[in-house]
């Protein structure tokens, strides 16, 4: 789905330095985090504020529940800080 051009010599280089858009998704920035968000679904009201405030699109709605993409979440903690229901806590990443 994500097409990354393979280049082995100058002849393969895409002319004008043009590459497919959006391929950075393969970069697993989840490795950056020191803390990870964990949600208490019982407290969550699905207000979606955590989703709209995430800088890294790492809050996802999966089967009607808030989940986190830990492969990309950098652990900034904005979701936990902003949650009006205090449903998210930041745990040390191990």
């Amino acid at each position: 789905m994500v097409k990354i051009p393979t280049v082995t010599s100058w002849q393969d280089l895409p002319v004008g330095c043009v590459v497919p858009g959006g391929t950075m998704i393969i970069n697993k920035t989840g490795a950056w985090k020191v803390f990870r968000p964990v949600v208490d679904h019982k407290k969550c009201t699905l207000c979606m504020l955590c989703w709209i405030y995430c800088p890294d699109s790492s809050v996802v709605l999966a089967e009607g529940k808030i989940e986190f993409d830990y492969d990309h979440c950098k652990g900034c903690g904005i979701c936990a800080n902003e949650c009006p229901a205090k449903a998210i806590r930041m745990e040390l990443e191990v």
């Binding site: 010599s9 002849q11 280089l13 895409p14 002319v15 004008g16 330095c17 043009v18 590459v19 497919p20």
Partner: protein, 398 residues
Amino acid sequence: METEKLTFTGNESAALGAKLARVEVVATYPITPQSTIVENLSRFIANGELKAEIINAESEHAAISICIGASLSGARTFTATASQGLVLMHEMLHWAAGARTPIVMAVTNRALCVPWSLHADFQDAISQRDTGWIQFYCENNQEVLDTIIQAYKISEDKRVLLPSMVSLEGFILTHTVERVDVPKQKDVDEFLPPYKNEFFYIDPENPLAENVVVLPDWYMEYRYQQEVAMQNAKEVIDKVSKEYFDKIGRNWGGLIEAYMMEDAEVAVVTMGTIAGTARVAVREMRKKSGKKVGLIKVRCFRPFPVEEFKKFSSLKALAVIDRSYSFGCGGPLCTEVKSAFYNTEEKPLILGVVAGLGGRDVNVGDIINVLEKTIEVSKTGKVERETIWLNLKGEQLR
């Protein structure tokens, strides 16, 4: 209609060239002596003679950036500038070449400040020789019109995809009326198909990003790819000259024009209108004194015609007339000509001449003097002075 007129200034010729090439986006910024090129284009567009959009940019730097954006988005683009305007564009000239945008720009050569000058010399265009643009230097207004049309075909060739600048000297060509034949639009259309960009396009289903950061692992390869394109241009320039001759009937040569060089022992090498004057000088000298002199006109400075020069390695001596200068080094054309001969077994003695800076007139007599000096050098076998500044008021120290 323009085609009923028989005589045009250099600027009108450049505007007609762009019009016949059916440019789609023109970015303008006024600067003497270029302003009437964009004024003419504005008039063509306002009258519906040219279906294009004109953007009156807020600076030359913006004008060239607009051209890059428009070219990437698929439009055939044109702009014109001179002197300070061209050097203001410098950052984006590198950008346009690296982005492989086939922009064509008319440069109405004018000396650079300081001191302030409005008159012709090549310092503006020559100082951009490292930017990766193809460079043409025109001798007369007819060549200007023809070269602009050819430049689109050359630049847009898939093996090239590099921008071109077409130089015409300020006031000497830009404001001088000459006899110019304007080709028919239908013939130009057959010679030059519409521009179709293929490597970058705007398609939401297949989004592309242009100009990402390239680390040391691949940057050199990108530059090599660009150099290959520049080398490909040599073949394409020759091919396009022949095609233009077949379709329109005029041939300005490929990268160079060798005039009366078949039996020449000594020659003058130069560009632009000085080449036109040199033609007359060469003919006169041959007629009056039978001396075997000739002219090598460099029509295309980038890519530099290295192989073409190597063919003249058995000449006794050359004088290279530069209408520009690289401080602390020498005339750029002279330096590059010398470099072309460096590895050949035989090589001519080379005399560098700097002339015509800031619009100073270079006449037939001057070139005859230069050729006489060159003949002297060919006889003594010694070049006493590497560079002579022609008709300088005062003693030359080096």
